[in-house]
């Protein structure tokens, strides 16, 4: 006979269950809140930014002759002329020079409208001249107004004409900077980590170095900008605003990230792999090169990609070395003045015209998708190749 054992929950047990439920509810609440912020951020960015990916275009007749080459805005009928972006008129003399047979002809083309027209059509502003509105509506009813893909957003550089502004020079600048960061911080970082993890004796000195490296990863990035300004630009004379200066400065920030992740990857390789190799007569370096490094490579690459992605999104240190600049034409070398994606976003966000608001949001979307791609690559790399022991 069981001596009065009941298997239904006692009062105390019920209390414990309630506490458990409460705790679970807090956690779910926190998660929901975090997700809500994220969703809010993304919907807002997409809502503001998506319209910048398309642009209003108007079909017009363009006349090329002696006069219109001089007074380019006369190449289009007078009442339509103010609707078209200045960026096109500027290209007329060049176009005629390149194709002399255009002289004296008239062609029908879809041309990018001004930012005012674009903003008006997208419903962001109503401050369009009533006369122009009337013309626009008439053209619209004739089917001569539509949206086209804003290829300029990707393939033209920055511009003071909002309808002509794009991310190209920032892309090129970012690319150069990333190349510099990769070339500088990857070899130095990996070599440092290998030395610290595999060769260095464990003493006060190396412990001090270790603490300092960990601290470096936590130093506010603006200070790295000051350091870069003092060392690379003032001392070594690297050209100001150049991709080289930016890359070197950002390398200082990426280095600790790469060192720390490489050390973690090396540490994850079990000791008996090293011992096994050395027991058959491999030297220390051979054991590392042939066995430890191949095993830790996925971890090292993951850390490097994350470090590069961080550098790619960094703006503050670049403020100090002059990379927040107006760069209409993409740089063609490492030493020319350049700007990078986040810096371009920063520049646009400070512009007064309404059209730059959409451009800023679009720039953010482009930058975010690049960073998400990079980080996803890192995650995939880690999941696919990481070996667990």
């Amino acid at each position: 006979m069981s001596q009065g054992i009941t298997l239904s929950p006692s009062r105390q047990l019920k209390k414990r269950y309630r506490a458990e439920k409460r705790f679970k509810a807090y956690c779910i609440g926190a998660l929901v809140l975090a997700m809500a912020f994220l969703v809010l951020f993304f919907t807002d960015m997409i809502r503001q930014g998506y319209s910048a990916f398309v642009q209003t275009e108007i079909e017009v007749e363009v006349t090329y002759n002696e006069d219109t080459v001089k007074f380019t805005n006369e190449s289009v009928r007078e009442e339509v002329s103010p609707l078209i972006s200045r960026a096109f008129y500027r290209t007329i003399p060049r176009r005629v020079d390149a194709n002399p047979e255009l002289m004296g002809t008239t062609e029908t083309r879809w041309l990018t409208a001004t930012a005012h027209v674009d903003q008006y059509r997208k419903g962001y502003s109503d401050r369009l001249d009533p006369e122009l509105k009337a013309t626009l509506d008439r053209l619209d009813s004739e089917g001569r107004v539509s949206y086209g893909f804003n290829s300029g957003l990707f393939f033209s550089g920055d511009s003071k004409i909002p309808s002509n502004a794009g991310l190209w020079s920032a892309f090129v600048g970012s690319f150069y900077v990333m190349i510099v960061v990769l070339l500088v911080s990857f070899p130095i970082g990996v070599a440092t980590a290998i030395y610290l993890e595999e060769f260095a004796p464990d003493n006060r000195f190396t412990q001090g170095i270790e603490i300092n490296i960990n601290n470096l990863a936590a130093v506010p990035s603006i200070l790295f900008g000051l350091l870069g300004l003092a060392i690379f630009i003032n001392f070594f004379g690297v050209p100001r605003s150049s991709a080289l200066a930016g890359g070197l400065t950002l390398s200082l920030m990426t280095l600790p990230v790469i060192i720390i992740s490489t050390r973690a990857a090396l540490k994850a390789v079990p000791q008996n792999i090293r011992q096994g190799a050395q027991a058959v007569g491999a030297s220390r370096w051979q054991a590392i090169r042939d066995h430890v490094l191949p095993l830790s490579l996925p971890g090292i690459l993951t850390g490097t990609i994350i470090g590069i992605a961080q550098a790619m999104g960094e703006t503050a240190p670049l403020l100090l070395i002059g990379m927040i600049a107006y760069i209409p034409d993409a740089p063609t070398s490492m030493t020319e003045a350049a700007t990078v994606l986040p810096a371009q976003i920063f520049t646009w966000s400070g512009m007064p015209e309404g059209a730059y608001v959409s451009l800023t949001a679009a720039g953010i979307l482009v930058l975010l998708s690049l960073l998400i791609t990079l980080n996803a690559t890192a995650v995939i790399l880690r999941n696919r190749f990481e070996r667990r022991w």
Partner: protein, 277 residues
């Protein structure tokens, strides 16, 4: 053929006190004299002396922490890899003290191979596991020679029949017992003269253990084997000589039969009868 800078004749017959030298009339392969080891402040070996007989299996037994693994790892200087270790005394191999400054550890370890407690094949193919060391040591250059060597080593380790059709498979895809035999094949591929085994069967099931033990028995024809084991039956089965370690000293060292049937020391008797653990 590679050059042996550790050459010398080991044909001399030495007579030493019983703890060092259990039986006469057998060639000595390695002579250990007054070996002391410290890990930081902690002394792990207190002046151990011992002779290792050639082409025999010598077992090292004793409770955990008695210094038997430390002793084993001194024989190919694997202890050098541990930070904060201090080693005093002499280990003579091929008439040279392996702790002499002119001795190169990498060279030494190609003559004294080691098999570890946990099978640790390289994360490479079965073929590359064997071929790695002869390649980096420059012992084999031609591809056909290497294939012969891989086959020969795997045959010696009794693994050839099981893996001959899948040499390009990763070594880690083998079972535990096969992995351990792969590690033995890897160790003998560089033709060492001494094989050190640190509890080679402790991670294996009884069937795999029996296979490895049989292999050890066959290998002693060509190799001098020193094996650390926690399994007393195993020592009794495979070893010609057995040394009982306790608290960093050798308590008793003699031929296996006498040690297990007529131990001279009380401590040894307690340990082998299980009264002491």
């Amino acid at each position: 053929m590679r050059t042996r800078d550790l050459t010398g004749d080991s044909t001399q017959v030495v007579r030493v006190p019983t703890t060092e030298r259990p039986r006469v009339n057998q060639k000595t392969k390695m002579k250990v004299r007054d070996l002391e080891v410290w890990y930081g402040e902690k002394q792990a070996l207190h002046g151990v002396s011992m002779d290792v007989a050639e082409n025999e299996v010598t077992a090292l037994i004793g409770p955990s922490g008695c210094g038997k693994s430390t002793f084993l790892r001194c024989l190919n200087r694997m202890n050098d890899l541990i930070p904060d270790v201090r080693i005093k005394g002499e280990v003579e191999f091929e008439n040279q003290n392996i702790y002499a400054p002119e001795v190169d550890v990498v060279e030494l370890r190609s003559h004294i191979g080691m098999v570890f407690q946990k099978p640790n094949p390289f994360p490479k193919s079965i073929y590359d596991n064997i071929a790695y060391a002869p390649k980096i040591l420059g012992q084999v250059r031609k591809r056909t020679d290497m294939e012969d060597l891989v086959e020969h080593s795997l045959k010696r380790a009794g693994l050839w029949e099981e893996v001959k059709d899948r040499l390009q498979m990763p070594g880690l895809s083998l079972s535990g017992g096969q992995q351990q035999r792969l590690c033995i094949a890897r160790a003998i591929a560089v033709s060492p003269s001494v094989l050190l085994m640190d509890e080679p069967c402790s991670a294996l099931d009884p069937v795999a253990t029996a296979t490895v033990e049989q292999l050890i028995d066959e290998l002693k024809e060509n190799y001098t084997i020193v094996i650390v084991t926690h399994n007393l039956q195993q020592a009794a089965r495979v070893a010609g000589y057995t040394a009982f370690f306790h608290l960093g000293n050798i308590v008793e060292y003699s031929d296996t039969d006498s040690l297990f049937t007529h131990p001279r020391e009380k401590k040894t008797e307690d340990y082998i009868t299980g009264r002491y653990g």
